[in-house]
């Protein structure tokens, strides 16, 4: 399972960087989206995958018995998802403003059109 996910993560990183290197603003946004997904998946996978073992202390015991799914990476990923959601919302609003002001989706022309 880890191998498959590692390949998926690598693919996502590659695709996201490819998209970010494109000149289109829309592709840039897609690139950023995929990038956050790739990072989240990486955190989740790197900490190890344990299936069907929730970290719940059984009645009578004082600690969780050994193989159990680590809840911390999931908490980290959750935080990262929320933050990247906010960032992406802002990025979308900003690029919309940029598109309306510049009437172009081309990042190269965005820079050259500078009045000062």
């Amino acid at each position: 399972m880890e191998t498959v996910l590692a390949l998926v993560i690598g693919g996502l990183y590659a695709i996201s960087f490819y998209l970010m290197l494109r000149r289109s603003m829309v592709k840039l946004i897609f690139g950023l989206m995929l990038f956050t997904q790739a990072v989240n998946l990486l955190i989740f996978t790197a900490a190890g995958l344990t299936r069907g073992q929730p970290p719940i202390v059984p009645p009578g015991a004082t600690a969780v018995p050994a193989p159990y799914a680590d809840p911390l990476p999931q908490a980290l990923v959750l935080t990262a998802i929320v933050i990247s959601f906010g960032m992406l919302a802002f990025a979308l609003a900003l690029t919309r403003r940029g598109f309306l002001a510049m009437q172009t989706d081309d990042l190269d022309r965005l820079g050259r059109g500078a009045p000062e």
Binding site: I43, A47, G86, R97, A101, M102, L107, G111
Partner: protein
Amino acid sequence: MSTIVVVPILVPLCAAIAGLLAAGRSALQRALSVAGAAAQLAVGVALLHTVHTRGIQVQQLGHWPAPFGITIVADLFSAIMVTLSGLVGLCVSLFALVDIGPERERFAFHPLLHFLLMGVAGAFLTGDLFNLFVWFELIIMTSFVLLALGGERPQIEGAVKYLTLNFIASGLFLTALGILYGQFGTLNMADLAIRLDSQPSGVGLSSAMLMLVAFGIKAGVFPLFFWLPDSYHTPPAAVTALFAGLLTKVGVYAMIRVLTLVFTADLLVLAPLIVTASLLTMVTGVLGAAAQSDIRRLLAFHIISQIGYMTLGLGLRTEAALAASVFYIVHNVIAKTNLFFVAGAIRHIRGTSELRELGGLYRDEPRLAALFLIPALALAGIPPLSGFIAKFTLVKAALTADAFLPAAVALGVGMLTLYSMTKIWAEAFWKAAPADADGGTRAPVPIVMLLPIIALTTLTVLLGVLPGTLLDLASGAAMQLLDRRQYLDAVLGTAR
């Protein structure tokens, strides 16, 4: 346990919320903003005093012991940075009273300023890497809005670049965190430091490298600086001064903290790279500045050039060099913020910051001319100002460490900085005003604008004439950075 460590995070939070509640009542909001920033400065000084007299202060949030909960910790370096952020915050909130128009104020400029200060204080004080990531996100989220607030065309352009690069930097940082957690199962800096010592692995180096790139983007280190001059000059001067003074230094702070505390073994490997990058940062920044003809763009390139001096201290890895870095950060934050204020004041009275369209300012505004000259000469490193002491200690540290090339480059870049500053002086202040020049208010610079400039200029002179106190603090901070035992004991306590 000491409560004072969390106060620098709580004060701006309260100020920001109070400011939001006072939305629509402009006068009240402004008063709250200045009062909040003044309180932050006071808290910063109190924290610095506490840390200086009683050692490293730690607070475990929710009383969860160190590796499990989030640790808030203040050593001398953090306390110095928090104090600086309070100082810059206060000056910016004063300057913004005139500089930020009612339009931007209506869109919550003042609360945003305090949210930013909260993020900055949090980043300086946290002892947990994931928490550092969260503070970084708070900082860049507020800075995005501050940068784009107003929605002028160049601002939008600058904001797109700024957003993309910071997004990527955060992603790389988070990647490093994921890898580190997967390997070591902890993100507490002190705990991670011990685990990396006991089981060194290639994972440490790769994470250190990822973080170096992420913080390098934020700090504007060569070759990752190109977004900075494209975006920093676009918003109003108060915002630019805030960014120039604080944001890049958060990147430098994070770099120094992480590499001295957590990745000490990897710092050995990375040191030559850091020195090379620092030197190239200095040179490209100052050469880029020489080609500019807009004051704000010119100063933005100088931000980059100066960052090189700060990271050079880290690359040299000696106590004296780190102390010089800390001193340099303090000097630079004060001088740089001040120069952007002066540029803002010029723009306020003349309606432009383009050197070709300026002139005659020495005749019209002799006070402002004097107030420009002092931080400008300080930036170039002319005695007896703060920049001289900063450069002197750094070059001396470089020579002691047998790093002759860095010392020579540092001195040469100082000369070129002087060239840029004389260029501004000759064009904006000395030459006669162009015949067709008009625009701006043409009135004398308002006293509210001059006040923070005067305060920062006084500090620049004081740090140059009486550097003793700060030099002691800086070498104390460097000692704590290099001798990690104090930090580890304070954070982990008996858990070790």
